[in-house]
Amino acid sequence: MEIMFILIAISLAIVIFFLIAFIWAVKDGQFEDCHTPSIKILLDDQNPYKEESVK
């Protein structure tokens, strides 16, 4: 049962990591506009980038 110390520590570390990731995402503005990307991926023509593949 002593493994629980390690397991809880790992779980806490994972939770803290996800919290940091969430705070980063909010600061970075990832949640500012969630509607446009869902439409944007359906529009091929508007890409100013040409898609090519090499090799």
Partner: protein, 225 residues
């Protein structure tokens, strides 16, 4: 504004696609054999092809080989286009692909030989678990490197699911390691030696299951989980 041409890596997608089809055929063929061995026990005609040995081969083949390659195929295709950039490293892509196929072949050899840990969906012996962990790290580096060098600021929602797949999808392998007394992991970390209790604790808390983890990367099938 300068116009750029992006060269996506389609070779890796094609490779994973071939692998998906190949292992799909192999895995489901083994599944049919195993299914027939139940009403027709005479089909257990070789010690290497008994039901007990072929069943984990079928489950591992369809879960890791078929679905795994399929997920990687979809991921490599869509991630590049949604991030508007080629993969972070072509070398890592190749190592990921060939390493993964090597793991599958290792499973296909060791399981019919009877080398199994006996844990459902984690039957592969510990050297293969270590290989899975290494290849998973390679995949994670490639994934996160690509996201880091993306040309689109907003991370399309699927990218978050791919990240979660990296965190949750490979865990049956490296979380099996503490429970295995033969590789000295417990001695190394001064962990309690009652292996079975330790193993159960680790598995129940950390190995959240392959099926849910595979489906987390596929939000359209989340309803199945």
């Amino acid at each position: 504004m300068k116009e750029e041409t992006i060269y996506y890596d389609n070779v890796i997608v094609r490779n994973f696609a071939f692998a998906t089809v190949l292992w799909g055929i192999v895995g489901m063929l083994v599944g049919i054999i195993v299914a027939l061995q139940m009403p027709f026990p005479f089909l257990n005609f070789s010690q290497y092809l008994t039901f007990g040995r072929l069943r984990p081969l079928h489950t591992n083949a369809v879960i890791f080989a078929f679905v795994g390659n399929g997920i990687f195929m979809g991921l490599y295709y869509s991630l590049q286009r949604v991030c508007k950039t080629r993969m972070f490293s072509d070398a890592l892509s190749k190592i990921h692909f060939w390493g993964w196929q090597g793991i599958i072949v290792a499973a296909a050899i060791t399981l019919p030989l009877g080398l199994s840990s006996g844990k459902e969906y984690a039957e592969l012996e510990w050297p293969i678990d270590i290989a899975i962990t290494l290849i998973w790290v390679v995949f994670g580096l490639n994934l996160m490197g690509t996201i880091a060098k993306r040309r689109v600021h907003h991370m399309y929602v699927a990218v978050w699911f791919y990240l979660s797949y990296f965190f949750c999808g490979g865990n049956p392998s490296y979380f099996q390691l503490p429970g295995n007394p033969s590789i000295g992991f417990q001695k190394l970390f001064h962990i309690c030696r009652s292996s079975r209790c330790l193993d159960a604790m680790v598995v129940w808390t950390q190995c959240r299951g392959i099926f849910p983890d595979h489906t987390l990367s596929r939000p359209d099938v989340l309803f199945l989980a």
